[in-house]
């Protein structure tokens, strides 16, 4: 019953969303005015290499052929699906001939490492502390914490990140100001390298985690305050149920439901990268890669990153949909 009435239609919807999303991402960059072949030639010329104008057209033809852009859009679209069936997004145009998957694999660990950790940390911290503060909203510490979060949350991310950079990179000089690891270090699974990576990740992670936690805190606190006013909570209190049980089993569990959906969406968006963080801290990741792909008209690279992002978001939403009954017993797929 569940499989026929819910799972199969839901899976069909899942694949349809991915197919449509990828199709749209295939065509939109091609409609933009940036032409990757012209952009590459302009870059070579503007960087000082002397290309005799008499031979530029021949170069355009050669690059168009090499980039696989010589056929019609429909032909390219067909070729794209054939390639994708083998997990190949082709080569990056602007970083020719590096395969798109190589570029993504290179940037992905940094993005996932930074954003997954900070997203989960800030979600847990914000929801737990926000939940408790929401339950005890009349206490002085709760009001103080709320005031601090209210002060932090509206700070524009760029300003906050730059402030951390100046404070800990220049004034106190405790943490590195740029990069994912020290210059000269070769990536390895050694304690020394891991500590070095953590040290470099401290400022970017702090900038993301603090603002993220403040946001989750405020949302969670408000939801908990609302749940707290529900009849079943009052009933439990009057019935003498232990306070910690009321907080964690009755209130936070109920308040968490929308937050779980939001967490899934936040985790799915990780694959779009954190552009401003990467810029401020010169930190490696997918955000910069995607930005440069868009600005140079690097169709294949745009396709690679956005497709993964589409798959990640839709998959996480699917998983949340399927496991929701575990969090909310009221929901049953019949």
């Amino acid at each position: 019953m569940f499989i026929r009435n819910y799972l199969i239609p839901r899976l069909l919807q899942y694949f349809l969303v991915i197919f449509l999303g990828i199709t749209i991402v295939f065509f939109i960059p091609r409609m933009a005015p940036t032409n990757p072949v012209e952009r590459t030639i302009a870059e070579i010329r503007s960087r000082g290499t002397y290309l005799d104008p008499a031979y530029v057209q021949q170069m355009v033809d050669a690059l168009t052929e090499m980039y696989g852009l010589s056929g019609s859009w429909l032909q390219q679209y067909k070729d794209f699906w054939v390639r994708l069936s083998t997990g190949d997004f082709g080569v990056s145009f602007f970083q020719f001939p590096t395969p798109v998957m190589t570029l993504i694999k290179r940037a992905l660990p940094w993005t996932v490492g930074l954003l997954f950790t900070t997203t989960v940390f800030s979600w847990l911290f914000g929801n737990i502390v926000g939940g408790i503060a929401g339950y005890a909203h009349n206490r002085r510490w709760s009001k103080l914490l709320d005031g601090i979060m209210m002060f932090i949350r509206p700070i524009p991310y760029y300003v906050f990140a730059l402030g951390l950079l100046i404070l800990f990179g220049y004034v106190y000089r405790k943490f590195p100001i740029a990069g994912g690891a020290s210059i000269g270090r070769t990536p390895s699974f050694t304690l020394s390298y891991i500590l070095d990576v953590l040290r470099h990740a401290f400022l970017p992670a702090t900038s993301l985690a603090v603002l993220g936690a403040a946001s989750w805190f405020q949302t969670s606190k408000l939801i908990v305050q609302n749940v707290n006013a529900e009849d079943f909570v009052q009933y439990a209190q009057l019935g003498g149920v232990k306070e910690s049980r009321i907080i964690f089993r009755y209130i936070i569990r109920n308040a968490m439901l929308p937050q779980i959906t939001n967490l899934a969406l936040s985790l799915g968006q990780i694959l779009s990268g954190a552009l401003i963080t990467e810029i401020v801290f010169s930190y490696p990741g997918l955000g910069n890669l995607l930005y440069s792909a868009i600005s140079t008209g690097d169709y294949n690279l745009i396709m690679g990153i956005i497709s993964l992002s589409i798959v990640a978001i839709t998959t996480l939403v699917l998983i949340v949909d399927l496991v929701y009954p575990l969090f909310d017993p009221r929901i049953r797929y019949k």
Partner: protein, 628 residues
Amino acid sequence: MRRTRVVLLLVCLTFFVLGAAALAQEIAFPRDQTLIVNMLTGRVGTPSNFNEWVSWRWRDRGMQNLANEPLWSVDFATGQTIDGLASGDPVYNEDFTKLTIPLREGVAWSDGVPFTADDVVFTIETIIAEPGLNSHPTFATLVKNVYKTGDYEVVIELSEPDSRFHTHFLDRWGCTWIMPKHIFEQVDDVVSFEFDPFVGCGPYKLHSYDPAGYWTAWEKREDWDKSPTGIRFGEPAPKYVLFQTFAESSAKVIAQFTHQLDIADHDAEGFAAAMAQGGTIRAYQLSYPWVVNNDPCLTGITFNTMVEPFNNREVRWALVLAIDIVEYLAQAVDGQATLSPVHVPHLGAYPEYYIEPMQDWLKNFALDLGGGEMFYPYDPDAGLRIAEYARQRGHKVGDDPEELKNTFGLGWYKYAPDVAEKLLIKNGFSRDANGRWLLPDGTPWKIQITDINDVGHHQFKNGNAAVQQWKKFGIDAEYVATDAYTSLQQVGDFQVGAVWPVTEPWGAGADLYRSLNNFYSEYMAPIGELNRGHASRWSSPEFDEIIRRMRATDPTDIEATVAVSTEALKILVEEMPSIPTYGYSGFMTWDEYYWTNWPGAENPYMGPYGHWGTLKYMLPFLKPTGNK
């Protein structure tokens, strides 16, 4: 109780990890033996790929400026051509269909294999054979034959006369490099070959690089004396050279404040912040305007002359006269630049060859306003007006006329909005009741300047300064910043741009062919098609004739070259398809904490930048301060 212990344990663990991370020591190259240079072109997109013959590579990561040696290099600071792998100038036959290149003896690649004529012959033959290599179209068409006449001499036969073929090997921020034959001959697919580790003839070899593309480290070769740099200039001082990129301008400034960056290219704001800090940070010039003002590049405004009304010479000139160059320069770069009234930058030998000899012609150049009225637009004192502006801003500016000319230029055009108005009215334009300009068909005149989306770039600065000037004159002007500007300009989908008004000249010698050839009519495509010439799409039969004469002129014949190039420059002033404004101002700073004897304006022994090929030739002259 148990829960409290768990929480305490977690807190302690977190602090331990963060504390240990904070204490973790960086693997540092000994700082007193290391030069750290900021990369101009940003994060390397292909960190493991050093194959610079294919597509675009981030060559200023140390490839072109350190570990590679070209046949020849341009040094714009001295105006000289420096022999690298070549031991002298190319020798052409009489009709420029054959050239002989003498090569330097005693040079070895960084892996110890000797450099010989075989490498040069192999490079040219490989480029001809492989369509995926950048220079393939040119070489496949132009080179008829290439062979060696000895281990250190190469002859190239051309399929048609070309007096400048050797410039393909002349490094002016890039050129065609020589391949190490012993490596590339073993490669099946030259296009996909990554060439990692990089092997070059420069004095440094690859040490390591960031797989994420933020830095590349190079180490001095033990046999540095087998590089042209070592042979010509001696041992480079730094043992290591690091190229690092900072995505954020503030981080770059902080890096220099904390002595983690020796050579930095800033935007104007970053430059001001760095200079305000003072201490061991210095600029190219020791006094105002501080900036690098001898960069062989001219900035300005470019009209799309295939679009109305910019196809009208008098309209273009009206827009020039609507510019108050003092206000323009103030807004663009706070007056920190050198003006040029003609389409060649005011630097090196160019003023002597062109701008000074053209002064009389410029003073006598007149615009016909109709009804027998003539207007002489040239203002030989424009540079002095900029100097006065600088004084008013509180900067110390001397009175020596020669110094002022070098600093601010020889002149520009008068601010004459009344004359601009006459020219426009003569061409059917009018003003509405609010004083706003209307096109000849009566509709409001709107000008869009479409160009780069980078506030620190001189194209952005020029474009916005022009917008302010034209708005003040009563035109509804706006700047459209877009990453797609190169594509739009190449297919002519724009009205006005701020792309360089003329292609950059070599920066050495008198030859302007590299700049002027781009106006040849054959390269101009109709709107909607890819343009191969200058973005203005302007050309004329008269100018074509001059280009053809230039092609037949020996570029080493200074007198003949200057004569024909001057004719071309005069036509460009008369037609004004693009507006030359000021020479590129380099907002560059050096930190003198670890290294001194930089090639500043007081001692310009070599090009000052870290990203040009001449960096390797600067390094033997640097002196360590002894700071640890």
